[in-house]
């Protein structure tokens, strides 16, 4: 079974800072990590490999610096790594990114594709589902549990909702997006890190490599229908008022305030 995990290298911060003039992310001085949901995607794939045997590949689209994220995945136990990287892919929105990745995945061949639910920098949760749509395969999003069926041609996925969950049986090939509550990702190992640099390679795929599987009009900035109107860092709201009063008075103050704001 060939499993692909799609990962994204993101800035390690919960407070992404933006350049107010250009509206782009300030990445200087912020260390990069594998997006946390994606890390759980890697763990999910490696667990399936541990239990049933599988060939696990990891793939990302990004600049050459994303190499280190792929090496980390190799050091955790992934078998192969692909970096989809080319200047012409630059400026891609989720549509162009998913088109590009779908093209690469179609070329490489897969039985199961796993992605994280969403990235902590963009928070769109779109790329995974879009890849499945482009490839015309079934998908289950927000997976909290994955159980491979005997015969490995299908699996049962527990799909998380806010107030309930669904148990969905899905035939392979398929795509699953996973939540970080699915598992605790394993550490890399010392031998894994050494192997990731000394024994394994990260294969770089340029547009030329995948051009038979994705049209030029669908890649990069030109292939991106999304237009960002404005990006800004949220500013702190006005400081609240502190009332040191008995409970009854506190309740009255809160209710008056809520009425004033038309909440009640």
């Amino acid at each position: 079974m060939k499993i692909f995990v799609c990962i994204k290298q993101v800035p390690d911060t919960n407070e992404v800072k933006l350049n107010p003039e250009t509206g782009t992310l300030i990445r200087d001085g912020v260390p990069s990590i594998i997006n946390p949901d994606d890390l759980c995607g890697i763990e999910a794939a490696l667990s399936i490999k541990d239990q049933c045997g599988a060939h696990v590949s990891v793939i990302t689209m990004g600049p050459p610096q994303a190499d280190v994220a792929l090496r980390e995945a190799l050091a955790m136990g992934c078998d192969e790594a692909f970096l989809v990287s080319d200047r012409v892919f630059g400026g891609a929105d989720t549509w162009a990114t998913s088109k590009t990745l779908a093209g690469a995945l179609q070329m490489l061949g897969y039985d199961l594709i796993i992605t994280g639910r969403q990235a902590i920098d963009g928070d769109t949760a779109q790329v995974g589902p879009q890849i499945a749509e482009h490839l015309g395969i079934p998908q289950v999003t927000y997976a909290e549990e994955i159980t491979m069926e005997p015969g490995q041609d299908a699996m049962v996925v527990k799909r998380q909702y806010e107030d309930r969950y669904q148990m969905i049986k899905i035939k392979l090939p398929a795509l699953v997006t996973v939540l970080s509550s699915l598992n605790t990702p394993r550490y890399m190992s010392v031998g894994g890190v050494v192997g990731a640099y000394d024994d394994k390679a990260v294969r770089v795929l340029t547009y030329e490599d995948i051009q038979d599987f994705v049209a030029q009009k669908d890649i990069g900035l030109k292939g991106s229908p999304t237009r960002v109107k404005k990006s800004f860092t949220k500013t702190a709201k006005a400081k609240g008022t502190l009332h040191e009063v008995p409970d009854d008075d506190a309740v009255r103050i809160i209710i008056d305030k809520l009425k004033e704001k038309y909440v009640l």
Binding site: V190, G191, V194, A196
Partner: protein, 380 residues
């Protein structure tokens, strides 16, 4: 000259750091308080390949190098000095002499188990009357058919309680002095071998320091490490490598102390200001960080030279001397910056100060390091 770490070492450092913060730091105070060997941590160290970092894959190791090993001990010691020395004593003092001097049988039987972390290792040179004057060995080994019979008592043995295998130095020919010393690989289940009482120590209290007692202990001849008479040389060379481990431990403790002190002084307010705003605090911490960086360069240089197969004896001694004295001094000064809170066990700094002191003593006191350095300078 290039002072930058390779990408591989940067990723290894990240692994060591994450593991230390998530797996070692949360239980460091408890390990100290209970004076118990952290068996669960040792299993995790084995699982992720921390107990055989520099050894080839064929022996179950990580196939990294001594620099990576030093970085591992450093990162772990930042949060727990006891766990740091567990890795160091196991690797430098037990796996290393087998790797360097072992027969293929010994490597196959022992190094694979040690490097993969299935077994914990220890090293026994010190005796009641043979500390710095290690040549005063009283433990004896007498050949008897296919075996040697060992008699004697070793003291202050790190990892003793947890170890499955020990490198033991004993006299095979007392008339020859240090040239009459031999090294043996002894398993804990060999007849006549027992682990004695656990010492109650000032610091590194989780590292299970005990006596080893050999009463007509039967050790197969196949377990003689190196040749008869090479034991003292093997021990001294082993300690050269061990000093890189202890320098790394000291370096880690010192850096860990600075790190928590920086956090503390940015929070703590006195006289209406954060104490980080006082110039005394700033200058103290600037001095300390400079010293730790110097210690790191010395330590990494020693590891680097060992990896290159060059003579590193003097460099390891310098690294250990400088880093261990820095650790003692810096933890004491960091505790002072914590004020009264620093003296309370709830804060990690008092444990770090207790843990730091031993680095000036074991695997050669600071004075021994100076003897090694002076001798290398021709000053004798």
């Amino acid at each position: 000259m290039d002072f930058s770490l390779s990408k591989k070492h940067i990723l290894l450092q990240e692994l060591f750091r994450k593991f230390a913060v998530n797996e070692v730091k949360p239980i460091a105070a408890e390990v100290d308080e209970k004076e118990e060997f952290p068996y669960a941590t040792a299993e995790k160290l084995a699982k992720y390949g921390f107990l055989g970092i520099p050894y080839p894959h064929e022996f179950g190791g990580g196939a990294a190098d001594n620099l990576a090993y030093a970085m591992c001990v450093e990162e772990i010691s930042k949060v727990c000095g006891a766990t740091g020395v567990i890795v160091s004593a196991h690797t430098s003092l037990c796996a290393e002499p087998i790797y360097e001097n072992g027969t293929s049988y010994q490597k196959e039987k022992y190094l694979t188990k040690l490097a993969s972390g299935q077994w914990i290792g220890a090293f026994a040179l010190t005796e009641a009357g043979a500390g710095t004057d290690a040549a005063m060995q009283q433990t004896t080994a007498v050949a008897d058919g296919d075996n040697y019979i060992l008699n004697g008592t070793k003291i202050f043995i790190t990892n003793a309680e947890a170890a499955h295998v020990y490198i033991i130095i004993a006299m095979t020919d007392k008339s020859k002095g240090t040239r009459g010393c031999s090294a043996f690989i002894v398993e804990k289940d060999m007849p006549g071998f027992s682990v004695g009482k656990q010492e109650k120590k000032m610091g590194i209290r989780g590292s299970a320091t005990c006596e080893l007692i050999m009463e007509d202990c039967i050790v197969p001849k196949a377990n003689l490490l190196g040749k008869e008479g090479q034991g003292f040389k093997i021990a001294m060379k082993t300690l050269d490598g061990g000093r890189i481990g202890i320098a790394s431990q000291a370096l880690g403790i010192a850096q860990g102390a600075i790190d928590i002190t920086v956090d503390y002084v940015k929070e703590r307010k006195q006289f209406g200001r954060r104490i980080s705003q006082f110039q005394n605090t700033q200058f103290q911490l600037a001095d300390m960080q400079t010293t730790v960086d110097a210690a790191r360069l010395l330590t990494y240089r020693a590891a680097f030279l060992k990896d290159r197969g060059e003579n590193y004896s003097k460099h390891a001694a310098m690294a250990k001397l400088f880093a261990s004295e820095a650790a003692s001094d810096i933890t004491r000064r960091c505790l002072q910056l914590h004020g009264g809170y620093g003296y309370i066990r709830e804060y990690a700094i008092e444990r770090m100060m207790r843990d730091a002191k031993i680095t000036e003593i074991y695997e050669g006191t600071s004075e021994v390091q100076k003897m090694v350095i002076a001798a290398s300078m021709g000053v004798n």
